[in-house]
Amino acid sequence: AEQFFPVLVFRTGAYAPNGTPWANGYVDYLKLVNARGGMNGVKITFEECETGYATDRSVECYERLKGKGGGATLVQPLSTGATFALTEKAPGDKIPLVTAGYGRSESADGGVFKWNFPLLGTYWVAADVLLQHIAKKEGGWDKLKGKKIALVYHDSPYGKEPIPLLQERSKLHGFELQLLPVTAPGVEQKATWLQVRQSKPDYTLLWGWGVMNSTALKEAQATGYPREKMYGVWWAGAEPDVKDVGDGAKGYSAVTIQHGAEPNAKVVQDILKEVHAKGQGTGPKDEVGQVLYMRGLLSAMLGVEGVKRAQERFGKGKHMDGDQVRWGLENLALDQKKLDALGLAGVMRPVSTSCVDHMGSSWARVHSWDGKQWNFTSDWYQADDSIIKPMVKATAERYATEKKLTRRTPEDCQS
């Protein structure tokens, strides 16, 4: 049997520098699985489709690939816009959407969003962890009172996602939140950073993507804003974001979605040995194990594990259909033992999902750029469920009423 994975990527255009390593990691992992005999003997087939990060091209790719190879196993839209559009289509097609580290935050609620899997963390997790880190630095939540935190964000749904959480926290702890939108694509940010210079926020959160990130760092340098006070989301914390800023980005930190750059992880070594050494590697060798590469790799891993989990229930060595894969994804139980076996020791923490919790983990760390590479500079944090959960629930409920959906019943969860 074979299992087909569509791979929506962007290897050209404005976002290519960020999209390419992700795609390389994703594909390399699939190749690794195949090199080891597949998923319990089920070979993975896959096909890349170039979206150019455009929603309509993404929809076209989705439609083109969803029926191939006996039906798509799952889809990773790899863009917030496409996620929104596909969220409406996936239920009809019965295809799980895996959006590891992006997508809509409220889709963590599996009771409403049956087919969405924002595994490992949503933007609310990212924002919460960043604030926790800052609070810890300052010496406690109470020290945030009267402080000023600026959010420099990509002016789009993606950039606006963290705002509700930040507002919630700012009400709670009494810090001032300054919102500074940057018009896409973000090549011109002088006004933004002059504003930062003027209002002198104690911390600045960076919610950018693509060229916006490096530009922000360069403008921060040009206006003398200390990079040590800048914290990025995980889409603003990879090599392409800082590479050409070099020393100028020294001291800048970003939250990571569990992993960072992991050149020494076992799984990376395995890929180098079993895929690249055989001349089957997808990208340049020296980029294997970089941050975005790892993100792609882990996304693929989660999908594969979802299928394997489903096989445990529905029959090993068989082809899994969308419904079954969905069940697998919402019953993931990646404990430490499994992670070690996968070569992911030290890369991530255990993940376990459920019918209601489609996120599976809300742990994250912070890493910083030292001018040459990313290094972890914090311990693990867990996002505060007591804040996030009600927000997720409320937003998801609203979505459900708007769409006239009913919450899934416990029986439905069994299917």
Binding site: R11, T12, G13, A14, Y15, A16, P17, T20, D155, L179, L180, P181, V182, T183, P185, V187, E188, K190, A191, T192, L194, Q195, R197, Q198, G210, V211, S214, T215, K218, Q221, A222, T223, G224, P240, K243, D244, V245, G246, G248
Partner: protein, 309 residues
Amino acid sequence: MGPFLEILFGGLMTGMLYSLIALGFVLIYKASGVFNFAQGAMVLFAALAMARFAEWIPKYSGIANPIVVNVLAFAGAFVVMIGVAWSIERLVLSRLVNQEGITLLMATLGVTYFLEGLGQTLFGSDIYKIDVGMPKDPIFLLEKTFEGGLLVNKEDLYAALIAAAMVALLALFFQKTATGRALRAVADDHQAAQSIGIPLSTIWVIVWSVAGFVALVAGVIWGSKLGVQFSLSLVALKALPVVILGGLTSVPGAIIGGLVIGVGEKLSEVYVGPLLGGGIEIWFAYVLALLFLLFRPQGMFGEKIIDRV
């Protein structure tokens, strides 16, 4: 006062950079009546060539001196741009003589796609670095007068100076030489220009080469600011209101327009933006240009639109 001056100054600097790109548009429009949609792609292409040459030259020839490398890379990239200009004339423009502006605009769109594809194929689609030794850190002036000093960005300052020099040169060229006159004639009426023996192909190769040069300079400056990657081609969009505000046919217009837009958008974002939730600078530039055009439909320095029976 201090912040205001800083913003004003920052706006002027940004405006200068817009002008540099606007200049490329004006040049080609003025000389052939073509609104060159491919200007952004040319900036990207030139910058990519420069960045990769600067990477490849030390690797394959062993020359290590960064100045020599940069000069060689720049020269190489210029040669590439001349090649681009020549091919565009040969394959596109010469076959579309005497067609309407909108057709030519469309053709440059085709060129855009082609250059974007070719550029990424030849030079890659990652982020590359151009390092021509531009200083990145800020300097502070008048620290006595203002608290915290007046922030000035040296990189911007150099860039603005270069832009100003190029604009001055080109303005002279258009106004004072016979070729300049011929270029304007071509823009007015391809066929009549042909009929009196102005060799369109030569003219176009020259103009597109010059525009290629301007694109290269813009690419180097913006590239050293932003890093060289695909987004560079999007910067061209920012130059659009500049060209139109300044007047499509005016070289000095490009510069004044750039300054006005630069200052206008920065001041508006900082002082008006917060009232409206921010992010207004993009439309503000256009509304500014629009209001101005209501009073002067040909832009600040554009040639008067002829309207006569």
